[in-house]
């Protein structure tokens, strides 16, 4: 158990327990960049190339039996525009799940469309960020990471 000694609302983790982020993006370039950005901020990253794979990983795919025993995800970051299932659709599926809905979801997009942003925020997204992601965004992301109680 770690106690926070700073005045900022910091999330303190056991030394061996890095926050685990699931990053979903159909672009191999963006997956690599996001992975580096987050590992640079001492997170552990799992990437998925589309919504379907992300749901499978989370145990939320159609026909899957939820198996959350060992799975620990502190944040999900997803691209909006993906083939098959958009980031918004993925967000909704996650928020509909009793077990996964508490996980903060951040949506990223290369397009600055207010209706899209509103839609995602109303859908329960923690934040909506514009691509390309930068180092300054990593700091924002770090704040959203939720410490899960074991």
């Amino acid at each position: 158990m770690a106690s926070s000694s700073s005045s900022l609302p910091s999330m303190e983790f056991d030394i061996d327990e890095k926050p685990h982020v699931l990053a979903v993006d159909d672009s191999s370039i963006d997956r690599k960049v996001i992975e580096r950005l987050l590992t640079n901020s001492t997170c552990r990253v799992t990437t998925a190339e589309n919504g379907k794979r992300a749901l499978e990983y989370l145990g939320l795919a159609d026909g899957q039996h939820p198996n959350h025993g060992d799975l620990k995800v502190n944040m999900i970051i997803t691209d909006y525009s993906m083939p098959g299932m958009t980031g918004y659709e993925l967000l909704k599926r996650i928020k509909e799940s009793p077990n996964m809905k508490e996980i903060p979801v951040v949506v990223v997009s290369s397009e600055n469309i207010p209706t899209r942003i509103n839609q995602c925020m109303e859908g329960g997204a923690q934040e909506f960020l514009l691509k390309p992601l930068q180092l300054s965004d990593a700091k924002k992301l770090r704040c959203h990471i939720k410490k899960l109680n074991n």
């Binding site: 672009s27 191999s28 370039i29 963006d30 690599k32 960049v33 580096r36 950005l37 640079n40 525009s81 290369s110 691509k131 390309p132 930068q134 180092l135």
Partner: protein
């Protein structure tokens, strides 16, 4: 044989030139800042992914524009991807052509699209050559025992 200092000078100047001429933008700097001793090849790896992805997309675009019945939505989807990836590595001139390209798609303007394809192929080829030159310079510096100067 150039000294390490001379090579480093060359690199800094060449980088500055690429930025001044609009081939690269701030996003490229962001990538360089993510590179460190534990991830020494990060930039080369990302750029290599960009090269592979772009070449695939350019092929798809050429094929799509040759079809009897042109599928503008498909073309737009490919251009959107190329715009995204070029933006992610800071390949500014490629990104800019993609913006115009998408407009022509929306207008279903075949000639505009074909022109943009030629333009984007040209810009891609330019930035590829320049990045390869940049990486070669970096390799030379490392081989001579020097370190790569950090971006300003």
């Amino acid at each position: 044989m150039d000294s390490v200092v001379q090579l480093q000078r060359q690199l800094v100047d060449y980088r500055a030139q690429l930025f001044n001429e609009g081939f690269l933008d701030e996003q490229f700097n962001q990538l360089q800042q993510l590179q460190d001793e534990s991830n020494p090849d990060f930039v080369v790896e990302v750029v290599t992914l960009f090269f592979e992805d772009s070449e695939r997309l350019l092929d798809e675009l050429a094929k799509a524009l040759e079809q009897q019945s042109v599928d503008y939505r498909k073309i737009d989807a490919h251009v959107h991807q190329l715009k995204g990836s070029s933006s992610s590595i800071g390949a500014q001139r490629v990104q800019k052509v993609c913006i115009g390209f998408r407009n022509f798609c929306e207008e279903r303007n075949i000639e505009g699209c074909q022109k943009c394809l030629q333009q984007v192929k040209h810009e891609y080829s330019l930035v590829k050559t320049k990045l390869e030159t940049l990486f070669k310079l970096e390799q030379k510096i490392l081989a001579a025992g020097g370190s790569i100067p950090l971006p300003m």
